[in-house]
């Protein structure tokens, strides 16, 4: 029964989202599972994430949202004793295949974490970290990248006069936007966000949400959130997960107003989770 649900693909819901119909798939999971030791935290998930849209992942705590998200840029590799099965297709390649260079993958798939994790370096050095890794040495070129990234992250005006001060001196919301700028500076194609606003106050949250709205023009964004309103506000598509299984995936409006699956309905209406 569950298997049946997970096999549903995004295009089966296409009738609810006309623009998505034409969108090309950017990343695709095929029967993808991820194990912590013997524990299967993500179970045979199949989904297609369309390009230049915001996809939200919701579900009760511990259902595997973060795990799935972190599978997309192989951050789970950092945890010993994890392994994956199935496929995660990005740009025509299975990223869990043999010849994949994780470093290149991560420079194409940026990530923003739950808690702002700026480096204890200057604001400039934080944003320039990624470009420097990619070999940009020219100071002027770096300066340009830093400025555009900070502008994109809507924080340029707040920090332009203190680029050389330590980033830890900023407020939590500013730090999170700096993290977004830092992720944008490596010019990724996909931006993964794991509860980027859960450590922030409503005002800072609103700013980040506005920012996501602007970034969708240029990036494919996948955002994990606990906040149903947030998912409804910012995303085009929503995936609902439960106990490692992708229960339902589809147009956000449709999923929130008229879910196919009773479990989804229960969760959204607050009957569990």
């Amino acid at each position: 029964m569950n298997d049946d649900i997970t096999l549903r693909r995004f295009d089966q819901f296409a009738e609810h989202n006309d623009s998505a119909q034409e969108a090309e798939t950017h990343i695709e999971a095929r029967e993808f599972s991820l194990f912590y030791g013997n524990f299967e935290a993500v179970r045979k998930v199949s989904l297609q994430v369309p390009k230049r849209m915001v996809t939200a992942m919701i579900g009760p705590s511990g259902c595997g949202k973060s795990t799935l998200l972190r599978s997309i840029n192989r951050m789970n590799d950092l945890i010993p004793s994890t392994h994956a099965s199935g496929q995660m297709i990005f740009d025509g390649h299975n990223i869990y295949g043999r010849n994949i260079d994780v470093v290149t993958l991560r420079s194409r798939v940026g990530m923003v974490f739950q808690k702002p994790n700026v480096f204890p370096k200057s604001i400039f050095d934080n944003v320039a970290y990624g470009p420097r890794l990619q070999g940009v040495k020219n100071r002027q070129q770096l300066g340009e990248i830093v400025e555009t990234s900070l502008r994109q992250a809507a924080i340029w005006d707040e920090v332009k006069d203190r680029l050389n001060t330590n980033a830890l001196g900023m407020s939590g919301g500013q730090q999170q936007r700096l993290c977004i700028a830092r992720a944008l500076a490596i010019k990724p194609e996909i931006l993964l966000m794991d509860e980027p606003t859960s450590a922030l106050d409503p005002k800072a949250t609103a700013k980040i949400e506005d920012l996501i709205g602007e970034l969708r023009e240029a990036y494919t964004i996948i955002i994990v959130t606990h906040n149903m309103q947030q998912a409804a506000r910012v995303s085009d598509l929503t995936a609902f997960m439960y106990e490692g299984v992708l229960v339902e995936f589809g147009n956000t409006k449709q999923l929130f107003t008229n879910p196919d699956n009773p479990q989804t309905e229960n969760y959204i209406t607050g009957r569990f989770g």
Binding site: N73, M75, L78, P80, V103, T104, R106, S107, G110, M111, F113, K115, N117, V118, F119, P120, K121, Y129, G130, L133, Q134, T165, N166, A167, L168, G169, C179, R182, A183, I186
Partner: protein
């Protein structure tokens, strides 16, 4: 009631803590006061004209004209002493042989004691040993030596069965009625004019080489040797220790081998330092022959082994204390492991690593046992940098030990021993202070 108890306990604990700190502070004062008080006398003391003579003749320091004027005045004051000696010698010659024998030994002692006090008698052949070419250079020693001229020590065995007791007898009693009798009044009355004491700030004590194995001069070879050995040890131990710590924290997979390695490191930290010294001798000198004989190089290597566990452990702790999120952020931006370590983890861990280095530096600077067989000699010249590869050096900890156990005239130069102790303590404190300020500055930069 409950709340009351809790508050009481709270107070008791903070009281205990305060007491512990106060006790520690007291212990520190108790230890440091004599070190500073006695050690400072190597630098700041009342120096006699003989001190200035040593400075001028041995170190080419001081105003020769002023010194000659002073010498003339001192010689004037000393002239009656030597005249009395001559008169008494003439008197002795005229004596009957049997009477003369009574005076001969006693007079020899007086003559010898006077030599020690004032230096060689004018007109006599210059002694070969440097220490015999000068009188007392310090006023405190002058008073001791003056006393020895005035009093003879004898053993009193009058109580049968008991241990002999040392007693002092005025020498003047032996020369009553002779031409020498007035000497014993003249000396204490005119010792000032003969020795001309003056408060002297001998800061060059730290930069002068020693003359006649520390009888005169300073401790520069020891200071320099200590600096070489300490920095040398750090040169080997810091990179090795930090790399090992990085490996253990970031690369190694937890398992039996790693646990075993960790146990080895802990054990190494507990090995007595003399064992390291012997190992250094057996391995660095006798097995792989880093140099033909003792050398700074061999000593540094041995010391580096000694401090390696401390550096590894503190670096490991510092690295583990770096928030995981930094690492994730770096990885998420596409940094490889090595880049992450270099650009994020090590900078963030630097204050902690520095703490370990500070502790190790103090340890390396002060250790005696590891360098006994590998690097230290009791007398030596300051080394040039390249000479450290194959030459031994004096070093403060070893020479302090050597002075108080093996030096033939240690009672004469206690001030040198204390001066070395003070200098060593100051050196270690200074190294620590430098590292602590550096650490504070970096920590502040990291905090923003």
């Amino acid at each position: 009631m409950r709340l009351g108890t809790r508050k009481l306990l709270d107070k008791a604990f903070s009281g205990l803590g305060l007491m512990a700190i106060a006790l520690m502070a007291m212990a520190l004062v108790l230890i440091l006061t004599p070190i500073i008080w006695r050690g400072s006398k190597a630098y700041l003391f009342k120096g006699t004209i003989e001190h200035r003579r040593v400075m001028l003749e041995q170190f080419g320091r001081g105003d020769a004209k002023a010194f000659n004027r002073e010498t003339r005045q001192a010689a004037e004051a000393r002239a009656p002493v030597y005249r009395m000696l001559e008169e008494f010698e003439a008197e002795m010659k005229a004596m009957d042989r049997t009477v003369r024998r009574n005076y001969k030994d006693a007079y020899g002692e007086v003559e010898e004691a006077l030599h020690v006090l004032l230096g060689p008698r004018p007109g006599k052949r210059t002694p070969v040993l440097l220490r015999q070419q000068y009188g007392q250079t310090r006023w405190d020693r002058t008073m001791v030596k003056l006393h020895e001229v005035l009093y003879a020590t004898e053993w009193d065995y009058s109580t049968p069965g008991a241990m002999g007791v040392q007693i002092e007898k005025p020498r003047v009693d032996q020369f009553r009625g002779t031409r020498l009798e007035p000497l014993f009044d003249y000396l204490p009355a005119h010792i000032d004019e003969m020795m001309r004491p003056r408060t002297t700030f001998y800061w060059r004590f730290i930069t002068d080489t020693s003359k006649d194995s520390h009888i005169f001069g300073g401790i520069w070879p020891e200071v320099l040797g200590t600096i070489y050995l300490t920095l040398g040890a750090m040169l080997f131990a810091v990179p090795m220790g930090v790399i090992a710590a990085v490996y253990l924290c970031e690369y190694a997979k937890e398992g039996r081998i790693i646990s075993f390695l960790r146990i080895c490191i802990s054990t190494l930290a507990g090995v007595p330092s003399i064992v390291f010294g012997l190992f250094g001798l057996a391995f660095f000198l006798n097995t792989i022959h880093v140099s033909d004989s003792k050398s700074v190089l061999a000593g540094s290597l041995t010391l580096s082994l000694l401090v390696l566990p401390t550096i590894i452990r503190s670096s490991e702790e510092a690295i583990l204390a770096v928030p995981r999120s930094y690492k994730e952020a770096a990885f998420g931006l596409g940094a490889g492991r090595w880049r992450t370590v270099l650009t994020v983890i090590l900078p963030a861990a630097l204050p902690g690593i520095l703490t370990g280095i500070v502790i190790s530096m103090g340890r390396a600077a002060g250790e005696t046992a590891p360098i006994i067989f590998t690097a230290a000699v009791s007398v030596g010249m300051p080394l040039k940098l390249w000479e450290t590869m194959n030459q031994p050096t004096p070093a403060l900890p070893w020479n302090i030990y050597n002075l108080c156990t093996e030096h033939e005239a240690v009672d004469e130069i206690r001030h040198v021993q204390y001066g070395m102790v003070l200098t060593l303590v100051a050196l270690v404190l200074l190294l620590n202070l430098a590292a602590i300020t550096m650490r504070a500055r970096i920590a502040k930069k990291l905090r923003g």
